[in-house]
Symmetry: C2
Subunit: 334 residues, 2 copies
Amino acid sequence: MPGTGRPTSRDVAQEAGVSQSTVSLVLGGKWSGRVSPATAQTVREAAGRLGYRPNLAARSLRLGTTRTVLLIVPTLSAPFFGDVYQGAARVAAEHGFGIVAYPWPDDAGPADSPFAAPHEAIDGILASSLATDVASAFRGTPVVMLDSDPAGAAPTVVFDVASGMRAITAHLAALGHRRIGHVAASIGQWTFHDRGAALAEAVRALPGGSYVRSAGDLEVGSARDAAGRLLDLPDPPTALVCDDDLISAGAYKAARARGLEVPGDLSVTGIDDVQIATALEPELTTVRLPAEALGAQGMTALLEVLDGGTPRPGPLPGELVVRGSTGPAPRTAP
Amino acid sequence: MPGTGRPTSRDVAQEAGVSQSTVSLVLGGKWSGRVSPATAQTVREAAGRLGYRPNLAARSLRLGTTRTVLLIVPTLSAPFFGDVYQGAARVAAEHGFGIVAYPWPDDAGPADSPFAAPHEAIDGILASSLATDVASAFRGTPVVMLDSDPAGAAPTVVFDVASGMRAITAHLAALGHRRIGHVAASIGQWTFHDRGAALAEAVRALPGGSYVRSAGDLEVGSARDAAGRLLDLPDPPTALVCDDDLISAGAYKAARARGLEVPGDLSVTGIDDVQIATALEPELTTVRLPAEALGAQGMTALLEVLDGGTPRPGPLPGELVVRGSTGPAPRTAP
DNA sequence: TCTCCGAAGTCATACGTATTACTTGTCCCG
DNA sequence: CGGGACAAGTAATACGTATGACTTCGGAGA
């Protein structure tokens, strides 16, 4: 049903007593030399009076561009991605771009029917943590990956998790910990795989350091069980490094269920530094991943791609935040 | 820059040896009577060969519709809204609609420039928890409000928080609690105001019931201080009802800082039942708000509005989830 | 044999915008 | 006083799609 009664640029033109082209010239901003200030003022007033807003579909059709970027996230249910969005949106706004978020769970892709999904009216994609499918499903659309395997074809912004893991290891080592357990996320994402590899390497580089590992889902109950398996070992670790703040919550539970105090009997660390880190008791020692910067860097890179460039963004360092969940290693094994 | 090389329906037509109209007729689905099965097959094959995807801008311009709905949420950093999204998306998909999420923080609106924000290419809006501004900023676009003041002009889907508060009160009363503290969110949103009013009424209806209240921001530290003010009263409450699960985390901290055990010395409840509720120790007794249903009902209502109707959705009841944070009231005041 | 009808397509057009090519009028300078 | 440069604005057009109006053609009924 075309013509919903919304005013068009032609209506504005009529109201202002000029031609449609003039309205477009005025409201377009550029072309300042081609229309007199007086006329421009008249047009702007007419537009305001009518409450004119340009039809985006028409503009997109004409320009072949939407100035909109799609941010694909695995879920909207994780606080982390709010910051990613903020960072991307900030940079985007500086360049007249907008961002819409699209949660893409692991299953169905949009490439099923010959008809497009509504989120295809975009110029580019920022894809967080979905390794390969995105690029192929949106073939032809520029993509920048966030915190994903940098070996892929698309430009990728990654966290320097390795340095974060080294920082955690150094912190724990300074407290006297040598036997360190890793509670991993069993998701097959690059970023988690990388965390595990970096931690194992850092711990083994430690004099007398030993590394044990157990994996669970990214969910409190499963994380509790995974942590419990480490604590039930004959020679249990004195510190648990968790792949994610939420996993740490599970580690706390496993510890308390066995009568262990955190951090007196067991030190625990997380990664991310989201809200839950300060909601826990004791508050969590963790590595703060700069999610806002991830979004911002990603958007910057995407703008570069849209300009025809091939950016090679550097890794973003994490920052160790020491709170109450880490303490000196106990003298005797519990 | 029009013509990015993407195939158009005209290209498909040429490839298939038919006219552009025929391509449109075939791919449109309806009009089955107007084209022979053989031709339709040819067209579909050509489209597949070329990887044709319709230009959404052109379609929107032609149809005056985008089949896309904007979901406005206060933040992407709160897990609650992920479920809202899922519910809305499920119903939307059944009707060929798509949904994009747009986090709208409290400040800047999109109505600044005469030029539209990219998220205006939509047919309707689901707005969560932003009372008035949305409707005015998007004047002319159908809006359905979620969990907001039902006194507004737009159709509104609300939670029945009153019944949830009554359930909490009954639960606490059965455990012997009479003096009940309310740790409120100081945000001026309808839903929180309503929670407070409902709780106060329920508690005062209790024989011997007394209600005290303190407010803080929706943030752990502030919530801890607010809860602390109640615990430091001469005659402190034996149970704290929190406006939100996150606030409960603050209440835990305030209690432990004063040497109080949860639930031995103090019972605590939340509202929402998000992830943090089970991450806390003890796990939180709370009222589960059906966020998925909120999104689904909202989308259903919005579809009705788009059809010219004026839906009057009923309130969605919450469900009391009893976990470990509530217990019998202590005999003597701590 | 002539007419009429349905099937199978094609033609033409409009949606609202941005921009290029053109027109008109004014002023300045030789 | 003539002409050209420039300012200020207008006319025309294309972007890609969906669809109502039209065309063509083979066959069936009179």
